[in-house]
């Protein structure tokens, strides 16, 4: 009698285990499909918006190229193959209002030696700001969903860089700065964050290779004037503050000269 009871218990447990396994497998596969579908839908919606525009929002392809490859002559950046989260953040920052002049953004001091636990929750971060005369008004008209869709679309595109020829000396100087920086002035090399071939790394470190030289120069200028200030730990701001005009031109020419292939998703 007792043995029989044990066996039925065992069987019950087995059945229960199977059911749980089945249900979990079903839900897991279902979830995967669903997220894939929503991602595809986002890409499709993003493509629609990028190619046709909507109302007063102009089509992205007008400036950023039919496949998001950018426009070298005008310095319009390429978007194809950029990190999705990066595009997302940049559009949000472009849409953000600048703080009115005269407003003092005060950081709560973190005096760890006194009351670390209290201050840790009160840290104030300044809002990320990126201002552009052309792009900011457009970005302000985009909804969060639009931004998400556009980021998904441009993140999914493949990209093949077309190296731009430049003077040998310029390239050599640009390479020296890109690979070694200026150690005697504490300026780090570009490759130490933007990856060895300038292909970018993650959401925080955008690619430099395959971007128009004019775009790189204009962005460094914006870092220096404060029109762009939206990086983590203000790492890029510290770097940009040390670059001379010649450095900008050299390094931008070097990265516009690099070849790069980005596989689409």
């Amino acid at each position: 009698m007792k043995i029989q009871k044990h066996e039925t218990e065992k069987q019950l447990i087995k059945m229960l285990g199977l059911v749980i396994l089945g249900v979990s497998v079903l839900t897991l596969t279902g979830c995967g499909k669903k997220s894939d579908e929503s991602h595809d839908a986002a890409i499709a919606a993003g493509k629609m918006l990028a190619e046709k525009g909507r109302g007063s929002i102009p089509a992205c392809v007008a400036c950023h190229g039919a496949n998001g490859e950018g426009l070298d002559a005008a310095g319009y950046p390429r978007l194809a193959g950029l990190n999705t989260a990066y595009i997302d953040k940049q559009l949000q920052d472009l849409a953000r209002e600048l703080p009115p002049p005269g407003v003092l953004i005060e950081k709560v001091s973190k005096d760890y030696s006194k009351t670390p636990r209290i201050y840790s929750d009160l840290t104030v971060f300044s809002p990320s700001v990126r201002h552009d005369a052309v792009m900011s008004p457009i970005a302000k008209q985009l909804s969060t969903t639009d931004i998400h869709n556009l980021a998904a679309y441009y993140g999914s595109l493949s990209f093949q860089a077309k190296p731009v020829a430049a003077d040998y000396e310029v390239l050599e100087r640009g390479q020296d700065l890109a690979l070694r920086g200026k150690p005697e002035y504490g300026l780090p090399a570009c490759v130490s964050c933007h990856a060895p071939d300038g292909e970018g790394f993650g959401a925080g470190f955008p690619p430099l290779a395959g971007q128009p030289a004019a775009y790189i120069v204009s962005q460094i200028n914006k870092w220096q004037t404060g029109d762009r200030d939206n990086d983590n730990l203000s790492l890029m701001r510290a770097v940009a503050d040390q670059l001379t005009d010649a450095d900008k031109l050299n390094v931008a020419a070097y990265y516009a000269n690099r070849s790069l292939t980005v596989k689409g998703k």
């Binding site: 005060e106 760890y112 150690p183 780090p188 404060g226 200030d229 730990l233 203000s234 510290a238 770097v239």
Partner: protein, 305 residues
């Protein structure tokens, strides 16, 4: 428009100041009111008062020769091999390396950066007495120690091409540097220690300042399109072992003060550097190879984990 007016106002303010004798044009810079970081209250404590990034004047530090000037000779070939090993140890000295690091992860910018143990300041100081080995050590022997401890691997023999090449590279980098003279920028920064460091602050600071690149788990970040690490691991199996210089809180703090976060050296206060490194020191990493196999297998895991 308001912004424009403000900038114009700022320009006028600067023009009236004594800028007349400078030849450089006055550029419009960020108004201080937007500058959240500039508004950090300083001078609250002694620690905060020293959060001042020193300006570097031209000629302050030794400048090693340019890579393009490596001579075309047998010696030059050895220097080139040495440079390759130095910046890509994972590939060029693979069989001697036991973790995921390269020489240039600590000796930043190809062994050129002042206060990141630059080769041009180290090479002319050898042979030198070292407390670690209680003996006079040659440069080659010192490189062997790096492989054993910092690279958590096996030391190449003294006659191996790897040691020869690295020595040739260091020799070439210190072209024109005086022999046996301490140059500014040698080793790491010198720190004050106002109080005993605490990992409680260190953990918080680590998450704020370091985790962006080195990861919350300190295991660094790997490339997605190739082998190796984009940002090096600070602890865990792929990092330096307990015998390495960088695993001592002092060396780590001195290094971090001058070099971290990358490009923003000298922005941590001395105490912040001590705190962060105390937190890093508590984490688990490979044991000191000098302790022997019995201890290394049966000893409990280290510190915080």
């Amino acid at each position: 428009m308001k912004r424009l007016i403000y900038i114009v106002f700022l320009l006028f303010g600067q023009a009236t100041a004594s800028y007349a004798d400078t030849e450089l044009p006055i550029t419009v810079v960020r108004p201080t009111t937007y500058d959240a970081y500039a508004n950090i209250p300083v001078g609250l404590t002694h620690e905060k008062a020293i959060r001042q990034v020193p300006a570097i004047n031209p000629g302050e530090y030794f400048v090693p020769p340019a890579v393009g000037d490596i001579p075309t000779s047998k010696y030059g070939d050895m220097v080139k091999l040495g440079r390759n090993i130095f910046i890509d140890t994972q590939h060029y000295a693979k069989r001697y390396v036991g973790n995921g690091l390269n020489c240039s992860n600590c000796h930043l910018q190809e062994g050129r950066k002042p206060y990141a143990s630059p080769m041009w300041a180290a090479y002319p100081m050898y042979p030198m007495f070292r407390n670690k080995s209680r003996d006079v050590q040659t440069f080659e022997g010192r490189v062997q120690d790096c492989f054993r401890f910092s690279m958590n691997g096996i030391a190449p023999t003294l006659d191996s091409p790897e040691i020869k090449a690295l020595t040739a590279y260091a020799h070439w980098l210190s072209l024109g540097a005086p022999i046996n003279k301490e140059l500014p920028g040698r080793g790491f920064a010198r720190l004050a220690k106002p109080r005993d460091p605490t990992p409680v602050n260190g953990e918080k600071l680590y998450k704020e300042e370091c985790a962006t690149c080195h990861g919350l788990d300190g295991k660094g970040q790997k490339f997605t399109n190739r082998d190796g690490y984009m940002f090096p691991p600070l602890w865990g199996g792929d990092s330096f072992n307990h015998g390495a210089g960088m695993s001592s809180v002092k060396d780590c703090a001195q290094f971090s003060k001058a070099n971290m976060p990358l490009g923003k050296g000298w922005t941590l206060t001395d105490m912040e550097a001590w705190d962060i490194c105390t937190y890093i020191w508590l984490q688990d990493r490979p044991w000191d190879p000098r302790f022997g196999w019995f201890f290394n297998i049966f000893a409990p895991p280290t510190g915080g984990n």
